[in-house]
C-alpha cells in the first residue's frame, strides 16, 4: 500500500445509502452508514432482520448496484459495477450452505469454476491444497453437495471463496444454519485461516456472542442506520451506550421474564 492513512484501512465506507423502490414505495434500506476496517481485522455488523446489515454487505460485494456514497477497498474507490480483478480481492461466504452450492456439480467442479474464470493454472494442486486447508481430505473432491453434511458444505463454500487467494472475505451469517458443535468448528477454521493468510473479514450476524468471539470492532444496526459503533472490549465490559445495543445484549443472555417487560420497541424511527 502507499500512503500511511490508506494503508491502515482495508475497507473504508462513507455515507452509504441504499434505496429500494420509488415514490410512495420507497424504502431506505441503508441510511448514511460509515465505517472503516483496518487490514487484518474482523469487523462485525450486528442487527435484527430488516436492519440493513446484509444489504450493506451486498453493496460492498458488488451484488447490489443501487447504492450511493463512497466505498474504498484496498485503496481503490469502487463504482457500483465491479470488474473481474475485484473478485480476486474480495470473496463472499453465504448463510445457507444448502442453497449456495450447485446441487449437480461435484466439489471438484465447484472449486474449478472460479479458477477457470480467472485463468489460474495449476488447478490440480490448488484444489487439493485448499481442501486440505479447510479440513476436508482429498476423498471429498468428487462428492456432490447432497453427500455432505451442513458443516462440510460450509467448508466447501469457504474453500471456494479462498481458492482465488482473496484478501477480504465477506461473511454473511456463515454459521447460523449450523448446529452449535459444527458452528464451533467453522468459527475455529475461519480464525485459523485469517491468521495464516492475514485476511480481513466483515462478519454479518444476529448473534452477539459470535460477533464478540470473532471481531475487534462492531457496528450495531437498526432501521438501516448504525446506532452505535463500539469495540469488542466495550461489549465485553457490558457497557454499550445505546439503549438498543443494551437491549440486544440483555436478550442474548437468555430468558428473563422480568427483563422482557422492560423491552422497548425500536421498530419505527421517529
Amino acid at each position: 500500500m502507499n500512503g500511511a492513512a490508506q494503508a491502515s484501512s482495508m475497507i473504508d465506507v462513507r455515507g452509504l445509502d441504499v434505496v429500494f423502490g420509488k415514490g410512495a414505495d420507497e424504502v431506505r434500506a441503508v441510511r448514511d452508514v460509515s465505517f472503516r476496517v483496518p487490514e487484518g481485522a474482523t469487523f462485525g455488523l450486528v442487527g435484527e432482520s430488516g436492519s440493513g446489515k446484509s444489504t450493506v454487505l451486498r453493496a460492498l460485494s458488488g451484488l447490489n448496484h443501487d447504492w450511493t456514497g463512497q466505498v474504498v477497498i484496498a485503496g481503490q474507490a469502487q463504482t457500483p459495477k465491479r470488474d473481474k480483478a475485484f473478485y480476486k480481492l474480495v470473496q463472499m461466504v453465504f448463510q445457507d450452505p444448502y442453497g449456495s452450492l450447485h446441487p449437480r456439480h461435484t466439489v471438484d467442479r465447484i472449486l474449478m469454476e472460479p479458477l477457470s474464470i480467472h485463468g489460474f493454472g495449476d488447478a490440480e494442486r490448488r484444489i487439493e491444497q485448499v481442501l486440505g486447508e479447510v479440513g476436508l481430505g482429498p476423498s471429498f473432491r468428487f462428492r456432490y453437495p447432497h453427500q455432505l453434511s451442513g458443516g462440510q458444505r460450509q467448508r466447501v463454500a469457504v474453500a471456494r471463496a479462498l481458492i482465488l487467494e482473496p484478501r477480504i472475505l465477506l461473511l454473511d451469517e456463515p454459521t447460523s444454519a449450523l448446529d452449535v458443535s459444527v458452528q464451533a468448528e467453522v468459527l475455529n477454521l475461519l480464525q485459523r485461516l485469517k491468521q495464516e493468510r492475514g485476511l480481513t473479514y466483515i462478519l454479518v450476524s444476529h448473534d452477539l456472542s459470535v460477533v464478540a468471539h470473532m471481531c475487534d470492532e462492531l457496528a450495531v444496526m437498526n432501521n438501516g442506520a448504525v446506532v452505535e459503533e463500539l469495540s469488542v472490549e466495550r461489549l465485553k465490559s457490558h457497557a454499550p451506550e445505546h439503549p438498543y445495543t443494551r437491549q440486544l445484549m440483555v436478550a442474548s443472555l437468555g430468558y428473563d421474564r422480568a427483563a422482557i417487560d422492560r423491552f422497548e420497541d425500536f421498530g419505527v424511527e421517529g
Binding site: E48, S49, G150, D179, V180, S181, Q183, A184, E185, L187, N188, Q191, R192, H206, L208, S209, V210, A212, H213, M214, V232, L235, K236, H238, Q247, L248, M249, A251, S252, L253, G254, Y255, D256, R257, I260, D261, F263
Partner: protein
C-alpha cells in the same frame, strides 16, 4: 392437581425403512411430564421433533412408532382410534410448529382460522367463536385485534404470525402444548417476547409444555427441566437451573462449544463424539 404425570413415555422407538435397511431415529426413550415446562434439546437428527410428533401420532409414513407405554392422562395413545385421536389433537394436546409461514392457511383470514380451531371442538355460534378469537388475540398481546382478525397471513410479521399460531393452539384450552422450535425463526427480542406470552399462559392455565429446541441457553433459562437427546437417545435429564453443572460429556461438550460475550476469543473447544453415546442412553 395430583402428582400423577400428565404424559408418560416408556421405551419409545421410531424407525424408517430405507433401501439400506431400517434407520432408527428414536431408539428407546422414556420420560414423564407433569404440569411443567419440559425442554427437549438436541442437535439436528437427534430425534427431538419425532418424539414430539409421536405423542400426537403425527409421524409421517413410512415411519414406524413403537413404545412400551405412551399414555396421556389415562388414555393409551397407541390403542386410541383415529376418531379418538382427532378428539385429542388440538383440544387436549396441541402443537406449535417452527414457521408460521408454512403452518397458516394463506388464503383465509387469520381470525377466521383461530375461530375455526375453536368451533372444531366446541359447538358454539359463529359470533361467540369470533368473540373468543378476538379475546385470544388480545391475550397474546396483539394491540389491534380487530384489524389483525381481518388480516391474511402474508400481511403480518414473523413474530405476529407466531403469536397467531399460539392463539390458535391455545383457544381450545389444551392440557398439553408441544412447541417445536416455536421461536427459532424470530429475532432475539421478539423471540423472548413470544416466549413470555407462552410462559404466562402456561402458568395461568396450569398446562404442561414440551418445548423442543436446539438452543441450550434458552431452554436452560426458560424451562423447569431439560432432556438432552443425542442420536435418538436421552443422554441426561436435569433441572434447568442446574444445567451448568451437567455431568454427561455430551452436555458438557455442547455447553463448552458455545461462543459467549464474556469469552476470551481463543479457539472454541470442539465436541468430540464418543461412539458409546449411540449405544447407551438413559
Amino acid at each position: 392437581m395430583t402428582d400423577k404425570p400428565l404424559l408418560t413415555i416408556e421405551d419409545l422407538k421410531v424407525s424408517f425403512p430405507t433401501r439400506k435397511g431400517l434407520v432408527e431415529a428414536v431408539r428407546g426413550i422414556s420420560l414423564s411430564l407433569g404440569r411443567e415446562k419440559l425442554g427437549i434439546v438436541g442437535e439436528s437428527g437427534s430425534g427431538k421433533s419425532l418424539t414430539g410428533r409421536s405423542i400426537l401420532r403425527l409421524v409421517p409414513k413410512p415411519g414406524v412408532v413403537t413404545a412400551g407405554r405412551l399414555e396421556f392422562d389415562g388414555v393409551d395413545l397407541q390403542r386410541a382410534s383415529e376418531a379418538q385421536m382427532r378428539e385429542i389433537r388440538g383440544q387436549r394436546i396441541s402443537m406449535v410448529m417452527q414457521d408460521p409461514k408454512f403452518s397458516l392457511n394463506p388464503v383465509m383470514r387469520v381470525g377466521e382460522q383461530i375461530a375455526e380451531a375453536y368451533r372444531t371442538h366446541q359447538k358454539v355460534p359463529q359470533a361467540e367463536a369470533r368473540r373468543r378469537a378476538l379475546d385470544m388475540l388480545a391475550a397474546v398481546r396483539i394491540r389491534d385485534p380487530e384489524r389483525v382478525y381481518r388480516a391474511y397471513p402474508h400481511e403480518v410479521s414473523g413474530g405476529m404470525g407466531q403469536r397467531i399460531m399460539i392463539a390458535m393452539m391455545l383457544i381450545p384450552d389444551p392440557d398439553l402444548l408441544i412447541a417445536d422450535e416455536p421461536t427459532s425463526a424470530l429475532d432475539v427480542t421478539v423471540q423472548l417476547q413470544v416466549l413470555a406470552i407462552l410462559d404466562d399462559l402456561v402458568t395461568q392455565r396450569g398446562m404442561g409444555l414440551v418445548f423442543i429446541s436446539h438452543d441450550l441457553n434458552l431452554v436452560a433459562s426458560f424451562c423447569d427441566r431439560v432432556v438432552i437427546m443425542y442420536a435418538g437417545r436421552v443422554m441426561e435429564v436435569c433441572d434447568a437451573k442446574n444445567l451448568a453443572a451437567a455431568q454427561h460429556p455430551y452436555t458438557r461438550g455442547l455447553l463448552n462449544c458455545l461462543p459467549s460475550i464474556d469469552g476470551d476469543g481463543r479457539d472454541l473447544p470442539v465436541l468430540k463424539r464418543d461412539p458409546a453415546w449411540m449405544e447407551h442412553g438413559l
